[in-house]
Amino acid sequence: MIERTPVLNIATHAILITGLAVAFVPMWLVFVAATLTIEQINSPPISLIPGSHLITNLTEAWTRGGLGTKLLNSLFVAVLVAAGKIAIASVTAFAIVFFRFPGRMLVFWMIFVTLMLPLEVRIVPTYAVAANALAPAQAVLDLVGIGWLWQQVSGVQMKLEWNLLNSYTGLVLPLVATATGTFLFRQFYLTIPAEIVEAARMDGARPLRFLRDMLIPLSKTNMAALFTIMFIYGWNQYLWPILVTTDRANYGTAVMELKRLIPTAAATGGGTPDWNVAMAGCLIVMLPPLLVVALMQRYFVRGLIGADK
């Protein structure tokens, strides 16, 4: 559409540039802070021009936070959470769409309703479950009398225990169930023409073969989109990791470590706050998800819109 609106065009650019400033200025300040010395950063006014101590500050933040291990942990957790969500969502949706058995829709709705039970509102009891993930199973067994039966037969009291605290399993497993992912895959599978399924069956493909050779190749775009947003989701987890890890040296994640880099009065012991190191740490921790978004921009937007609709 051709329209001549020179004044409005200038105004449009001005508004959009303001928006860019809102997005970039805080991060520019963070970057500049990470390049200054401790004296420079504590002498007002705030500096807008980068200094020369970026590498020093990055190294200092890296060693002080033990970021090597922490970044690896974060990467490990984020990849496992994203891959786990994709695997479990595609398989569950496959079962729901391509099979007929009683209770199928019940399970689907059960998964879907978890959207209304975010971790934050059930933190205390979820923590209790993580301390012994088999407690629910034990309670069910006791309830139906199998525990009692076992005790009568073997003479040993049945005690199921599986502690998830301070383990990768504990960091990942409780985050793997996914309502949005399952829903996304279900919607996609429903669009697959019946003819394809029939043709595959006629060619003698059994269910798992059909999943592997037809459905998975067809849903590659969906998987990439889901992987992008779920990787970021996993990387950015904060509340759950601080609950399940007390052994921070070995199992701490990078995002958790941010809080310890903040120069509070207690941390500096009344000394000068070294915000320069904290900001260098902040840069390191937020870089990986930004890289993922930069590389997978198209999938990121697509995944975000697909997952929330």
Partner: protein, 294 residues
């Protein structure tokens, strides 16, 4: 919608659905059940299990003025953050959608903040708003404590709202832009033919057609601000100063893990859960409306 063709081996389907069913039961429904159990019982001081106390825990929570203060703060936080981030995002999306030169750059550049971890954004803004080193440091030198989120509750609240909204501007922008692009181009062009200028078309064509997206985002923003604010609060203020930024989620965490008051925390969890459920149900009603709309 049912699919006509399906595989005959039902047992395999059951087998495939079991893993996620187990995860959901263990990590979602069992804890929710436990929260209900704790909310209606009270642990005996000298051991001996929990005693059923009916709605006593809820009565205690609901008669606690600290609790209502945290509810009020959460509402202030939710509404201000939604207004700020949705308002900014809507203006950006409307003007970005004009697709002038540089459109792709603007779009890309406005999206990335959503990938920044909320705690990382929080650390960044804690520095930007630090009284001794941030943007207000020069003013603070002349007028000491003119700006100090560590001492002044209002300042602390402003800081968490800005830090939180910064990230959500990007999120809302993505959805508003997608909503605008779903509006048939022919409608906007017809408006132009009838002599409506750019701003007139925004007001009379694009904004009304964007209402479903708007309500959808409003509900998502409110829900998220109730649950997603934990990281921001914990990193920037830890609920302080003098509890001025203790939002509902933070109070649950604090009462449960620091105060070890499981029953009180569980009762608060149930209240928050009902709130989130209510909002989610509203959201699905709007999505249903939305399907008929287009």
């Amino acid at each position: 919608m049912e699919k006509r063709v399906h595989f005959k081996t039902a047992w395999l389907g059951v087998l495939l659905i079991v893993p996620q069913a187990l995860l959901v039961l263990t990590f979602f429904y069992w804890p929710t059940g436990a929260a209900l159990f704790w909310a209606f019982t009270l642990e005996q001081p000298w051991g001996g299990g929990n005693e059923f106390v009916g709605f006593e825990n809820f009565a205690n929570v609901l008669s606690d003025s600290f609790y209502w203060a945290s509810v009020a703060r959460s509402l202030v936080f939710a509404l201000s953050a939604a207004a700020l981030s949705m308002g900014m995002a809507l203006v950006m999306a409307l003007f970005c959608d004009r697709q002038l030169r540089g459109y792709n750059y603007y779009r890309t550049a406005l999206v990335w903040p959503f990938a920044v971890a909320a705690p990382a954004a929080a650390v960044a803004f804690r520095y930007v708003f630090a009284p001794e080193a941030g943007v207000f440091s020069a003013l603070n030198q002349i007028y000491p404590n003119l700006w100090n989120p560590a001492m002044n509750g209002t300042h602390a609240m402003i800081m968490i709202i800005v830090a939180y909204s910064w990230k959500y501007i990007a999120y809302n922008f993505i959805f508003f832009l997608a909503g605008l692009q779903a509006i048939p181009r022919s409608l906007v062009e017809a408006g132009a033919m009838d002599g409506a200028g750019v701003l007139r078309r925004m007001r009379d064509i694009q904004l009304p057609l964007l209402t479903p997206t708007f309500f959808f985002l409003l509900v998502i923003n409110l829900t998220d601000s109730f649950v997603d604010s934990f990281g921001i609060v914990d990193i920037t203020t830890e609920g302080g100063p003098a509890k001025a930024t203790t939002l509902m989620v933070y109070k649950i965490y604090f009462d449960g893990f620091k105060g070890l008051d499981y029953s009180g925390a569980a009762a608060q969890s149930i209240v928050l859960m009902l709130l989130v459920m209510g909002l989610t149900i509203v959201q699905f009603r709007y999505i249903e409306r939305r399907v008929h709309y287009t």
